[in-house]
């Protein structure tokens, strides 16, 4: 089989590079990572007039030094993967700075084609480019394109194929005399090296050495020829400094800029009446000292409302039965249905619990985040494409710099729940990707989970209702303040300790505003969402199974409770004898009838016909009795109500005892001496352990631990009431609990996301440990100091 050609797409950020790549490859893409770095690259296949071509979209870069991961990844790809062609995408409206990179690409000795992208914008700016002149200067064909509308693609494909087949190399950049006079000698010394014979190009190595490139220097200095090369290098550097009054790296950079300026001068006609660009006019408002922050708040707030409303709050998807639901609701319904189905089909109790509580609810919890992530990225992707994110960073930078963060961090914080009205750390952590600076991004990722996400809200709501009913708003505000204090405080400390180091210089392009393309935004959103599903599903499922095992085993034999349940059953059956309902309350039928009565209100709604008459009659009487009405068979109804209450209580107790004697319960009990300092007993401990999977679990597990049965999200009033009446609970204990829930280890899904975004489990584990320690210290302080008064 014939090998297909390989093309590497290289260009400045904001040059429309990815847009062009999307246009060429369509949806046939896969996202990859280089081992050890978080920089992603995307490749895809394309058809160039019948010829199959593999295209790789390298990260956007301004230069090819060794200072950033993106630049290193790009040059390593070209030097090691040997693409057949470099497709250099340049922003035609911003040619001079773009050609600075082009000047470095020609040194790599790979055939090259230039896509003069956004030629329409250049046109509007009054810039006319003579392609023939430009081509002859660089030694590579230049093709005008408008990637967002796929203009010029046919011609581009033709020219690319021609360049690949001809294997014509671009001219090496001609440098000023002071450089050109020293290069030959240095190149000769380098060519003498046997170990890297011919590759990479000697001229490139020579220039890198003159630029003090640490990576190349390290490699070459191990060569046996190093002594010779070093001598030649020192001599060359000395001569350059003598001539240009600057060190050699500066001289090289200046020479490249001179080349770009020269090319511009020869190939470009600027018309006189270059108008004030629309972009600059927009910036007058958007970056305005007073209006800027207001517009920022408005946009972020609407992003927030849009994403959460459309994915969770608004029911806009029709269901079969005429009801409506949200995308998240739909997935939850689906998994709840699957759960019920599995529950009915599987008879073995342990297998039933494994499949329902372990597998299905685990996968379900992962999938229920998908709509949120999808819509969040739809919006962020569009904002990024439009150029607005850079303005956000510009406006917010000074404030966040105080705490060791930078402007773009604000986005991750707000999405994670920084507005105080729900949010989610999973898309929040993913949003930190817009930060190009490694350390800034890491700190942002580590502190964003402190924000009050939507899953922490039910716990707050329950405890506030129980203990701070008179000051609900004030308490929520206080919790909001504390979450920001945690986040900014930790950012400050992290920057001073573990992630030390100078704040990376903040030198950022403010790209020209664009209308985002639907195609690009959708592809980007889909790629990110898919990555989440793929990675999260596997790991989270595994950990969920472990947590399930911890809470389900070892089995606790609650024989006395089971006996009591049986006794209560037979007592009731006796009472039901000689009544019209005797037939449905026999030893055989009892369980079926109880299940039927539990589900009765739902089944009535679904399909009233087909219900067994006698059970239905009983159910109707029971309903009427519950609502204070009179019934014909009051005695048996009353007896049933008593029996039902008793059985519920007993089975809740059985669940509680199982939980208490499970591995998780043992761990909870074992930790009590320590956690008591913060006011947590084993019941709270085990709920918090469960909350590691997802913070929503805290409330439900607390319900089981207090023998209330699983408490649903919406129905926390009963547990709220019970805690309020519990003499062991106090306001201060509730407060310590809330602060702990706020700050302790991010949920599993977030941790997996942190791993994915940082590339290392180390940071996910660190995040879990440091936030738990911090949360515990805070809770102990609150509980201990509060208990004094």
């Amino acid at each position: 089989m014939k090998k297909h050609y390989k093309i590497a797409v290289v260009g400045n950020p904001n040059s429309g590079k990815t847009c062009l790549f999307n246009g060429l490859t369509g949806a046939s893409q896969h996202v990859g990572n280089y081992p050890g770095v978080t920089v992603e690259f995307i490749s895809g296949m394309s058809d160039f007039h019948g010829e199959k071509v593999e295209i790789t979209d390298l990260p956007g870069i301004y230069s090819m030094t060794a200072y950033s991961q993106e630049e290193i990844v790009s040059r390593d790809h070209i030097l090691n993967q040997h693409p057949d062609l470099i497709l250099n995408v340049v922003d035609a409206s911003n040619l001079e700075r773009n050609l600075y990179l082009t000047a470095q690409l020609v040194e790599l000795n790979v055939p090259m084609v230039i896509a003069l992208n956004m030629i329409d914008i250049a046109d509007r700016k009054g810039i006319a480019i003579d392609c023939a002149v430009l081509s002859s200067i660089v030694g590579a064909e230049a093709v005008p394109t408008i990637a967002s509308r796929k203009v010029g693609f046919d011609e581009l494909k033709n020219v690319c194929l021609k360049a690949i087949r001809a294997r014509k190399l671009p001219h090496p950049t001609e440098f000023p005399h002071e450089l050109e006079s020293v290069l030959p000698e240095l190149e000769k010394a380098i060519s003498g090296m046997k170990d890297i014979a011919g590759e990479p190009p000697a001229r490139w190595v020579a220039l890198k050495l003159l630029e003090d490139d640490q990576l190349v220097l390290e490699k070459i200095s191990q060569s046996s020829e190093w002594e010779n090369i070093s001598k030649a290098l020192q001599k060359a550097k000395h001569q350059i400094e003598l001539h240009s009054h600057e060190d050699s790296p500066t001289a090289v950079a200046e020479s490249r800029h001179a080349f770009a300026a020269g090319a511009i001068h020869a190939a470009i006609q600027m018309s006189e009446n270059a108008r004030l660009m629309l972009s600059d006019r927009i910036d007058r408002f958007v970056c305005n000292r007073f209006l800027g922050p207001i517009i920022l708040c408005a946009i972020v707030y609407s992003l927030f409302i849009f994403v959460f409303q459309i994915s969770r709050e608004i029911n806009w998807i029709p269901l079969f039965n005429g009801a409506w639901t949200s995308p998240t609701g739909l997935l939850e319904l689906f998994f709840a249905g699957l759960n019920r189905f599995a529950g009915n089909v599987i008879a073995l109790p342990w297998l039933k619990s494994l499949v329902c509580d372990g597998v299905i609810s685990g996968v379900g919890s992962v999938m229920s985040f998908v709509p949120l992530i999808f819509f969040m990225f739809l919006f962020i992707s569009a904002l990024e494409d439009s150029g607005y994110i850079a303005r956000v960073a510009f406006i917010m930078d000074r404030l966040l710099k105080l705490f060791g963060l930078q402007g773009k961090s604000i986005l991750a914080m707000l999405i994670s729940g920084g507005l105080g009205a729900g949010g989610c750390a999973v898309p929040g952590v993913m949003a930190a990707r817009t930060l190009r600076e490694e350390k800034d991004r890491l700190i942002t990722i580590l502190v964003a989970p402190f924000m009050n996400c939507g899953a922490k809200m039910p716990v707050y709501a329950m405890l506030i209702a129980a203990f701070f009913a008179s000051a609900q708003g004030a308490m929520m505000f206080l919790l909001w303040m504390i979450s920001w204090a945690f986040a900014l405080g930790s950012a400050f400390v992290l920057r001073k300790t573990i992630i030390r180091g100078e704040q990376t210089p903040f030198v950022m392009e403010l790209p020209v505003y664009h209308l985002p393309t639907l195609n690009g935004v959708l592809i980007d959103t889909w790629n990110r969402t898919y990555m989440y599903i793929k990675k999260a599903a596997t790991v989270i499922l595994a950990v969920n199974l472990i947590l399930w095992t911890l809470m389900y085993y070892p089995r606790y034999d609650a024989k006395s409770l089971e006996d009591s349940i049986k006794t209560a059953g037979s007592i009731f059956i006796n009472q039901a004898q000689h009544t019209p309902y005797a037939a449905i309350f026999t030893a055989d039928e009892l369980e079926h009838t109880v299940t039927f009565l539990k589900k009765y209100p739902i089944q009535l709604k679904k399909s009233p016909e087909g219900l067994p008459k006698i059970r239905q009659n009983f159910a109707l009487e029971l309903e009427s009795y519950k609502h204070g009405g009179s019934t014909a068979n009051e005695a048996v109804i009353k007896a049933y109500a008593v029996y039902h209450e008793k059985v519920t209580e007993l089975s809740n107790q059985a669940a509680q005892q199982q939980l208490q004697h499970s591995f998780a319960g043992m761990a909870g009990t074992f930790m009590t001496p320590l956690t008591r300092m913060a006011g947590f007993e084993w019941k709270e401990n085990i709920a918090l352990i469960g909350g590691l999977a997802a913070k929503e679990v805290v409330l439900g597990t607390l319900g089981t631990a207090y023998a209330m049965g699983e408490t649903a999200d919406g129905d926390s009033s009963s547990i709220s009431q019970q805690l309020a009446e519990d003499p062991g609970w106090s306001r201060i204990r509730a407060f310590a609990m809330m602060v702990f829930v706020m700050a302790y280890a991010p949920c599993l899904v977030t941790l997996v996301t942190i791993k994915k975004e940082t590339g290392k489990w180390r940071w996910a584990i660190f995040s879990a440990v440091y936030s738990t320690v911090l949360a515990f210290i805070a809770a102990v302080l609150i509980y201990q100091i509060g208990s004094i008064f």
Partner: protein, 75 residues
Amino acid sequence: MTLADVEEGSNAVVVRIKGDSAIKRRLMDMGITRGAVIKVERYAPLYDPIAIKVKGYSLALRVAEGQMIEVEIAK
């Protein structure tokens, strides 16, 4: 004087870049080299960072970086 001393709306010419090689390199990569003409477009709401125009495009940099760029006011 440095770039951080230039008022909003004024043009300046780069004379020299001080400082360590990494930041200097980054600034040069972005087109800030000797002789380049820079227009200070505006300061951020809290007077840091600065938005400038250089080689026909907009760039934001912090005051700390601006102080490393020695300039002369252009006529």
